[in-house]
Symmetry: C2
Subunit: 318 residues, 2 copies
């Protein structure tokens, strides 16, 4: 198994080597800026790891991996506009540094570049890659719309929330893994197992993010703690607390958005058992992901790297 | 040759039959709304006409044709945001009727649907279609960025302007025609001739649009006359007048944006020869398009329908 950091370094190099035009510079300066902001590059790493299972060299998987990463970056640029987010990875977002029009258009451009990477596969695998990519991309947009719709809803069901994070963030991890299996000419069952592993892991990761937003160490978590609570965001943690019907929850929601509210939420959600229930939900999805790996192992496939990724992404005891 | 109106009706029916999800309804209501606004459907008609030359039935060409039309509609939704346009085809634009966030996301979605149509071709033609589509899409974005950049420039060269309209509007017509040749398994020269025919025709059409904006009959033209002049837009007509260096042009630019300015521009641009020079430029591109048809005819291909389209789109004596 090739180490994650080795793949990350390889991908960073490939990303900086993507050929982009020079003109119009307003368009391409933004793309270079945004792509250089970094990130864990987890999605394209998943494609390389998945391909490795079927002995497909990284040089053959890299275009599919890059298409996933470019799509991810496109969605971040547009989401940042829609969310009015000023900062991404500690740097100004594109619409803040330039303007909204340039951010819309550079997102569009990045999106095309994603498909441009896929066009490197001109054999029978292209149709399968394209189909998987399109279906995933449509779902990601649906998830973003659901997320925006949720903001103006009085309440959201737990099922609705899980479906939203499945669409908005998890299916892309599934697609990244399925790509490796498509490139490796695997049957539909193997492709499906890898896809489902990615989706379940993605849901678990997002739920973990909800918990860390309140309970994470800001030095490690890398974000301001309590942002979700300050905006009464309907995360799973929030919904679990709401489901208790406890009046203290309603009082918390009405509190002013300051550090006292965050401190109070930490204690209250613990007392109401919301933290524990959310952690259990996360571990449930993690277990589902492990089930998919077992099915792959039953076919004689080596899944060490995927186990390592799961452990790297998810801390089961929070 | 199948009539243009027959193809237009066929496409209208196919467009309204595109399967879209129902949820989230905010996303799909916008798409149905925008796609129902109509338009000439000229781009997808070109694909069907081009396919007809090689005896490819419309039922086989239609997915490629729809991908072009969906892409075109995506670009209109996003361009309308960037241009702050309140009205499109006599109806409120998406960002006006809903909001900017929904317009960004529904544009993104339409774009994916365009690629979704392409995925209907799973044979060897897919890679060629995808490559042509990607290259064109990248150029369309570049053209839109150039157009936005031009607004804040003091002056623009004629070459710069032609390059902008080539990228922003004409290459998509070229791609629509090339698609028919790809589906018909034609060699690169034939594909190139059809593509170039579309590009030259598209440039001629855009130049005609510049002339009609000032000199068109509003009842026929369907837009308010003089919009370009009121905003001092750097169209070819404007640039041709500017190139004369005549002081009356500079005075016109400084005039208040009202009907007197439009009336004055009509007379002045005629006197300065700008109208004639712009018309000559348009006819030059029209002639180039005819050259491409001659080369296709030399190969024994039937081009009646393309001649008819060119005559339908361009009035040589304005």
């Amino acid at each position: 198994m090739t180490g994650l950091s080795h793949y990350a370094a390889y991908l960073e190099n490939e990303i900086s080597g993507i050929e982009l035009s020079d003109e119009p510079h307003n368009l391409y300066d933004t793309l270079r800026y945004f792509l250089s902001l970094g990130g864990k590059r987890m999605r394209p790493i998943l494609t390389l790891l998945s391909g490795e299972i079927f002995n497909i060299p990284k040089e053959e998987c890299v275009h599919a991996a890059l298409s996933i990463e470019l799509f991810h970056n496109f969605s971040l640029i547009h989401d940042d506009i829609m969310d009015g987010a000023p900062v991404r990875r500690g740097k100004p977002t594109v619409h803040t540094k330039w303007n909204t029009n340039i951010a819309i258009l550079s997102g569009d451009q990045l999106y095309i570049e994603a498909y441009h990477q896929l066009a490197n596969y001109s054999d029978h695998r292209l149709a399968l890659l394209l189909k998987s990519f399109n279906e995933t991309a449509i779902e990601v947009c649906q998830g973003q719309q659901m997320d925006m719709d949720f903001e103006s809803l009085e309440t959201v069901t737990e099922e609705g929330y899980i479906e939203m994070i499945r669409l908005k963030t998890s299916v892309l991890l599934g697609c990244a893994l399925e790509f490796g299996a498509i490139l490796g000419n695997q049957d539909e069952e193997t492709r499906r197992n890898l896809y489902e592993f990615g989706v379940s892991l993605g849901i678990a990761f997002q739920i973990q993010d909800d918990i860390l937003d309140l309970y994470g160490d800001p030095a490690i978590f890398g974000k301001q703690v309590g942002g979700d609570i300050l905006s009464n965001k309907k995360t799973l943690l929030f919904l679990k607390a709401m489901q208790t019907g406890d009046n203290r929850f309603n009082e918390l929601v009405r509190m002013n958005a300051d550090h006292q509210k965050v401190a109070h939420a930490k204690i209250l959600f613990e007392e109401l058992g919301a933290r524990k229930a959310t952690l259990d939900a996360m571990n449930g999805y993690y277990d589902q992901a492990m089930e998919n790996l077992k099915q792959l192992e039953a076919k004689g496939l080596k899944t060490d790297a995927l186990h390592a990724v799961a452990k790297f992404l998810i801390t089961r005891e929070l």
